[in-house]
Symmetry: C2
Subunit: 331 residues, 2 copies
DNA sequence: TTGTACGCGTTATCAA
DNA sequence: TTGATAACGCGTACAA
């Protein structure tokens, strides 16, 4: 059993509350007793119990972060913003990931609630149903990342991101443009798909369902998509991918089939991974303002925690990055 | 304020202890009262307080995981093993990352101690000093990943991994072999460097300090290393890199200088990123058994928690993966 | 300046 | 089968 405030009190010959005051740097306390107690605490290896402190304080000064996948670079940069925001506001941060498993996601949110975190931020929620259900009241306020239909959310405008990619391809002369999606019903797949469709429509290009194929957000999904696309009677000259990993898979599979990127086919991704600029060819892609999203999300959550007036969904602009993997259509 | 056991008791017209029993599925309790209370709890949106429960239980059934960088794929796969191990043993997991900041690392470990986690696992510790210091007694047992000189640790044999890479290069005919390291004093840099040196020595190849240049474990570090290497009067024909990201930087910079990999220079990395097999050229590298490391680490930690006898450092073998980025030396 | 008493939400022990 | 009581470690009125 760890040493408690009582142990120190006994050792110092004072009452537990005096120890508490000394340790908390209370103003009204004797300099010597304070110094003595603080030395004693260090010597005895005292570590205050957050469990007990939080119980009496009825708050934990902690926010819980729930993310889909650890390895997704989107979350990496997001966390920087989240941590910076939380720490500078005097909050600690707890993190957990659910690996795209909706059940785990619910468990983690529940676990954080039991721990009485002051607020929760969920990035990559499998579905927003559980969060908007009126019967389900949560202990702590919850902010969602990239789920703009949820009232307390901070998102990147993925629709607009997709739109710029497609516009870019159209301006390069492409007309047969494919989209390798990821989970059409998944909330992360929707905005890109809508942006893709709306932009084709905007330019009067006929939609073709054969050009929309499913991936899995990873390299293998991109690889599997290519044969289906090349097998079409009229194959695409440009392929927009759900993300950079998918694009890498697509480029590999194309190369395997003897298609050179961008000479024969243009390919674009989404995310702007650190290595996107160093892939061969370097990837045309879309960068989401992840750090800023993180900062905004924490601010929004803290407003909710402190019940400081209205909160409206926030949407930030992404950045289009043109590189080598897209080029004018070959004649 | 969340609903407490007392609120339910008042509503149900029973005592708080009855509610506690009903909720905990205690054997000796009336079927009807139990059902009634459980319904009431759900209706009132009751979420038990882990804070209070843990205080009286004097344990949290939680292990804290402290990792260096979220984006490092090493930690991604490690977490899978860690989580699987913990969950299957009935423990919950708390995660936090310190972004290579030793101060943050110490803060997080301290925070976890205050939270009274039952044990802590640190991966990528900046230094082991704080953990072996005799004066510093920790509340909870601590297991370190990839820090074999610490008594409670699980590591991959990076020395052996480096050895196999160098051996492979030597067998391909290379004699001028460079190493792009990362932080020579950093505990992650040492084993690879030793393996590199020992293997050259083993084959009677003279050491040349000019062939050891510093990187930063990232793409930019690899890029910066190349001019220094190519500027040598006798440049290397093979370059061993601290990790795959460094290798990607090196390959890019070589290409910029008109050097083709592996035609002109062979390059190898470390880690086996998911995309290492899909880079162009695909990367020769070393795969650490991350999942197994995670499982072992949890087992070791739980043995420590339960004070079940002796624990000795565990070292697991890595796997060498030969791909396209290394080839026989050009004559 | 310091000590006493109480409460935070929960579980466990003992008595009813 | 249920209720009263104490305890976990800490912070804070209030009293001394």
């Amino acid at each position: 059993m760890p040493v408690s405030i009582k142990d120190i009190a006994k050792e110092a010959g004072v009452s537990p509350s005096t120890v508490s005051r000394a340790l908390r740097d209370h103003p009204r306390i004797n300099r010597d007793t304070k110094a003595n107690i603080q030395n004693l605490a260090t010597a005895m290896g005292y570590v205050p119990s957050a469990v007990a402190r939080d119980l009496v304080a009825r708050q934990t000064a902690t926010i819980g972060i729930v993310i889909s996948r650890l390895s997704d670079p989107f979350y990496d940069r997001l966390m920087l913003g989240l941590e910076d925001g939380a720490v500078s506001a005097g909050y600690r941060v707890l993190l957990s990931s659910f690996n795209r498993d909706a059940k785990r996601e619910a468990e983690i949110v529940h676990d954080f609630s039991e721990r009485r975190v002051d607020g929760i931020i969920v990035a990559g929620a499998e579905t927003i149903e559980a969060y908007i259900s009126p019967e389900r009241k949560f202990i702590s306020p919850i902010v969602l990342i990239n789920r703009p239909s949820y009232p307390f959310s901070v998102s990147a405008d993925r629709f607009e991101g997709a739109r710029r990619v497609i516009k870019h391809m159209i301006e390069l002369g492409h007309r047969r443009i494919a989209y390798v999606t990821w989970g059409s019903e998944h909330p992360d797949g929707m905005p890109r798909l809508s942006g893709y469709q709306a932009t084709l429509n905007e330019y009067g290009i006929a939609m073709d369902d054969d050009l929309i194929v499913h991936g899995d957000g990873q390299i293998t999904g991109g690889i599997k998509a290519v044969p289906r696309l090349l097998g079409l009677s009229s194959p695409p000259s440009a392929i927009f991918c759900f993300n950079d990993m998918t694009a890498i898979g697509v480029i590999n599979a194309l190369r395997q089939k003897g298609c050179e990127v961008p000479r024969d086919v243009s390919v674009a991704g989404f995310d702007d991974l650190e290595m996107a600029a160093y892939y061969h060819p370097s990837l045309t892609t879309v960068r989401q303002p992840t750090y800023r999203i993180g900062r905004h999300a924490v601010n929004m959550l803290l407003r909710l925690v402190r019940e400081e007036g209205d909160v409206v969904p926030k949407i930030l602009e992404p950045e289009f990055v043109a590189r080598e993997s897209t080029a004018p259509i070959a004649i």
